[in-house]
């Protein structure tokens, strides 16, 4: 399910139509600002718990910190989200799930890597089962700490919002189809090697 299948079906080519609509809306009608604004207040993280920073992820949505005030609502199916929070360690088994989940999400999509394990392995820097998530998916914001406190995650969401507004990430991404500055480091076949021995 990677890429956009381009073939003519009953009602014409929906991908081309969607592309034209994007060009009309974003290019001609200058709705880019609106898209960026909407994206900043609608960062819905997908429910993918990679590791134990999930405890602080959960606490960030708890009544005391309540990240829903930023419009972020943890959502269930990757198809309907636009945001992944990598909560800590990504093991080799999980890396494949992370990559597949990321590829299932519609553009524009953003990633926050949370915790020392998601940056350079943290405590598990020399472990045999650890993958660095920024080699698997392109990461936008990094949060240090093990685990980072909910304020740290809230700050990361704010930072991501800021850079979406400033760099027009969402609208540019929709226009150009892909963000040139971030790309996968490891090909998917390497990430999911264990899947197909």
């Amino acid at each position: 399910m990677t890429g956009e299948p381009v073939d003519r079906v009953y009602v014409g080519n929906i991908n081309v139509a969607a592309k034209r609509a994007r060009e009309l809306l974003l290019g001609k009608l200058k709705l880019g600002e609106v898209v960026d604004w909407a994206t900043t207040f609608s960062l819905w993280p997908v429910h993918l718990l990679t590791s134990c920073c999930g405890a602080e992820f959960a606490a960030t949505w708890s009544p005391r910190f309540d990240a829903e005030q930023y419009g972020a609502l943890p959502w269930i199916s990757p198809r309907q989200t636009n945001f992944i929070i990598i909560e800590g360690t990504v093991t080799r088994k999980m890396a494949c799930a992370l990559r597949i989940t990321y590829e299932q999400m519609p553009l524009p999509k953003f990633v926050i890597a949370m915790g020392a394990c998601a940056l350079d392995g943290g405590l598990f820097y020399n472990s045999y089962n650890i993958v660095k998530p920024w080699e698997v998916v392109p990461v936008d914001v990094f949060i240090p700490g093990c685990p980072p406190p909910p304020e740290g995650l809230a700050r990361a969401i704010l930072q991501l919002r800021k850079s979406i507004r400033e760099k027009k990430l969402a609208s540019r991404w929709l226009m150009e189809g892909w963000r040139p500055d971030r790309d996968y480091v490891t090909p998917k076949d390497d990430v999911c090697k264990w899947w197909r021995p």
Binding site: Y125, P144, C146, R155
Partner: protein, 179 residues
């Protein structure tokens, strides 16, 4: 008195009357909190928590106190602290440059356990009580010796006001503006 172990009986609510009663209890409690939520949510950028002095946040290095014993790097569980060799010129003896080693920290790995602070024999390391700095580049997180000695600017301080949380008997946690 020693602890004891005891078998308890589960009272299952059955019957129509009990069912209606507990439904009403549930709905009434929901309405109670709908009317008076007793909330203490932190409106983060507008308010930020001022933590207690013992909070284990970012770590700052005081170079003058360091005796280059490398105990901090040795005890660091995640090998985040590394010793770098620096050639230093003592103002008293400018002709004799000395090789010294100082710790630098890599926040890509640091787990904020405070072992380095606790092991330092001269108190050359200390925590600042906050933990909400984020980075957009991995390279920024490997601090240089100079950066390690500077207290980072907490981003929240420029955007909001400090609050403290207190444990309350009625509402659980209570948010209080700090004057």
């Amino acid at each position: 008195m020693p602890p004891k172990i005891s078998l308890k009986k589960l009272d299952r609510r059955g019957g129509l009357f009990e069912g209606v009663k507990s439904n009403i209890h549930t709905l009434a409690l929901g309405v109670k909190y709908l009317v008076d939520p007793q909330r203490s949510t932190l409106l983060y950028p507008k308010e930020y928590i001022e933590h207690r002095p013992g909070y284990r946040g970012f770590i700052i290095f005081i170079k003058d106190k360091c005796i280059s014993c490398a105990a901090c790097a040795r005890i660091c569980p995640s090998a985040a602290m590394k010793m770098v060799r620096v050639t230093e010129i003592d103002p008293k003896h400018p002709d004799k440059p000395r090789q010294k080693q100082y710790p630098v920290i890599n926040y890509q790995r640091c787990i904020f356990c405070g072992f380095c602070v606790d092991v330092c024999p001269t108190e050359a390391l200390y925590h600042v009580p906050f933990h909400d700095i984020v980075y957009e580049n991995l390279a920024d997180m490997f601090l240089s010796l100079e950066m390690f000695q500077v207290e980072p600017q907490r981003p929240a301080t420029s955007e909001g006001l400090p609050v403290v949380y207190e444990v309350d008997e009625i509402k659980g946690l209570v948010k209080r503006r700090k004057s």
